[in-house]
Symmetry: C2
Subunit: 374 residues, 2 copies
């Protein structure tokens, strides 16, 4: 079952939920943008699903500081560190993105790291935001102590999915937006399969003997781990594992946030605070490379060329990262944002807790059979 | 069959071969460093194997400009573009790395792009070089028109392996050095299997119906393509494909080099010049982030923690990218650099062509049974 809700209605609802959860009007507007971007582009685990499941409850109980005043604690011509003051990652990382863009326009390339922050939602939002200013950007985050996979060949989950997004402008069509985790899949997809009683595809999970497992319960029972991008050591798993380490090195030790498994976690199962997460945003201005116009034109040519490659299968198609999401965005703007029924149900519950009126489109009676096959 | 040759002997031999191929003393010294780094660290396809197979012949016949005078054609506080003047990628990219390091020390992060360059050897060398100055670095290259894989789901090989290396200093042990292609494996490994009459592991090659293929001939016959890191679309192949596009976007349109498949190539099979390749080096100075000391200490902690994870299999081990290569380097320095017999034989042939005396260690009579099982 799914619902469709007009984009502006969803944005207004998210904004209102955030202010009722304690955020200022300005911060709520910023965060609602990030949240709605995710739903609009089809990243439905990271949009209003996270609003109801993570942001609103944690803002209300103080695990995330609703009154945070992030401040710049290190600052050079092309580098900065923001202390997030325990606030919402959506707000601190938008600030970091805009600062990186501003600095890159001055210097050519800039990098802003954020510490003392929390879950930042869809990595692609920040990278995509920079492309609207004509810049190339990279955004990444570590994941606190919620390890999902052991070091390659190991037994203890020490690292998160550590997502990484890269985007580049390509005027005349959809920009390039690669939004990826360092694991084969984000854990939300394992959870969705479990909820819906489905097996997961071979290659997503591996048990402690190195055998592939398709029962999603095995992940939650600790009997199987999510694989690194590339799978086993033979097929390049060290690369996905290495990318996860890269993200943790930059978002942890460089940003001044926590990283890896803390000794506490290993010894007694204690959890880190939700706001000990780090992020990094890098922005690159093609103009500094003498490519103010030629970069976008070249990017367009490259992306159009690969997308025009004949498909191998008669029913197949060729595309590039960013194009399917742009098509989904256009659909969302035209027909309304498609949300899974369980997300809509969560939003209704959240609205109830916040004493917020529920948009008609989210009401249970409008739930309709899934339009898209599973 | 393998040989072992003292590191300094190999470096001297490479240096002499390069001057006899036309390079100046200074450029030969620079290039010999990069070449020997590859052999020393176990990247034997990218060391003296490339010297004999690529650099020396192309320097001699002019496909690579031995007298190149690379110059900086764009320059800001944290960005620069180098025109390589058709010269050797090993020289232009070392220059780019040192410029990026120098700029990053001033500004915090810097990026140098190179155009009009050629094969740059081991990407890890440049990233590793920056760690010796205490910086974090990223190095990447596109691959000219020698496409090895189609866009995901497509039929025409349009993109190269597009390698990417990232390194970070971690004093007190081996640095983090991730040196990866965007494909599951570099094509040198397919070629080695073919030469040795071995099948390749499942997952490396896929035919046009999406089925895995283990016969290396299928790749050279055009019946199967190298897979993207992640494999099929279901297991994350769009991520490896996306990383290849990222590398091509930065090394092509941003650097001002060629990219993707040229229309010429698609229409009439013409090849691009060998010197239409682009590279990018990014350097990051932890000091700008207030982490001059804490970054290295934190990186050491993270890397030691993951490497201490208990292995899943009794005969297994856990490590991190950079550690096995550092162990190989120590072995090379102690016992001499291990080269495959066919590489030694190629070097003997090259020495003959250059009228250069062959180090005793490379002579055929010292070839010995392979010490390491295949």
């Amino acid at each position: 079952m799914t619902v469709r809700i007009p984009l502006e209605t969803l944005r207004g609802f998210a904004h209102e939920a955030l202010t009722r959860s304690g955020l200022s009007e300005a911060d709520a507007a910023t965060a609602a943008e990030v949240i709605v971007y995710a739903d609009e582009h089809g990243f439905t685990t990271h949009g209003t699903n996270a609003l109801a499941g993570i942001y609103s409850p944690r803002l209300r109980d103080g695990r995330i500081n609703a009154a945070a005043e992030p401040r710049i604690v290190a600052d050079t011509v092309s580098a900065a560190v923001i202390d997030g003051d325990g606030g919402l990652g959506l707000v601190t990382t938008t600030m970091a993105t805009d600062l990186a863009v501003e600095k890159a326009r001055q210097s050519g390339i800039a990098m802003v790291a954020v510490r003392n922050s929390s879950h930042f939602g869809s990595a692609g939002y920040y990278a995509h935001r920079a492309t609207e200013a004509g810049l190339i950007a990279i955004a990444m985050t570590n994941c606190g102590a919620q390890g999902v996979a052991p070091p390659l060949g190991g037994t203890i989950r020490m690292l998160g999915t550590n997502p990484l997004a890269v985007a580049a402008p390509a005027p005349g069509g959809a920009p390039f937006v690669l939004d990826m985790s360092a694991t084969t899949v984000a854990t939300g997809k394992i959870r969705a399969a479990q909820r819906e009683g489905r097996q997961v595809p071979g290659g997503w999970l591996v048990d402690h003997h190195g055998e592939t497992v398709t029962d999603p319960d095995a992940y939650f029972d600790g009997k199987a781990d999510v694989t690194w991008l590339g799978g086993s050591a033979v097929t390049g798993g060290a690369k996905g594992y290495g990318l996860a380490l890269l993200v943790d090195l930059l978002c942890g030790p460089l940003a001044g946030a926590s990283f890896g498994p803390t000794p506490d976690l290993l010894e007694n199962g204690e959890e880190r605070p939700d706001t000990d997460i780090g992020h990094v945003v890098i922005a690159i201005d093609p103009a500094a490379f003498g490519a103010a116009e030629s970069f976008g034109a070249g990017a367009r040519t490259l992306l159009d060329t690969v997308a025009a490659c004949p498909p191998a299968r008669p029913d197949g198609y060729v595309t590039y990262p960013g194009a399917p999401e742009a098509a989904r965005s256009a659909e969302s703007r035209r027909d309304g944002v498609l949300l899974p029924g369980p997300v809509a149900a969560q939003l209704v519950l959240m609205a109830d807790q916040l004493d917020l009126s529920v948009p008609a489109a989210l009401r249970p009676e409008v739930l309709r059979p899934e339009a898209v096959s599973a």
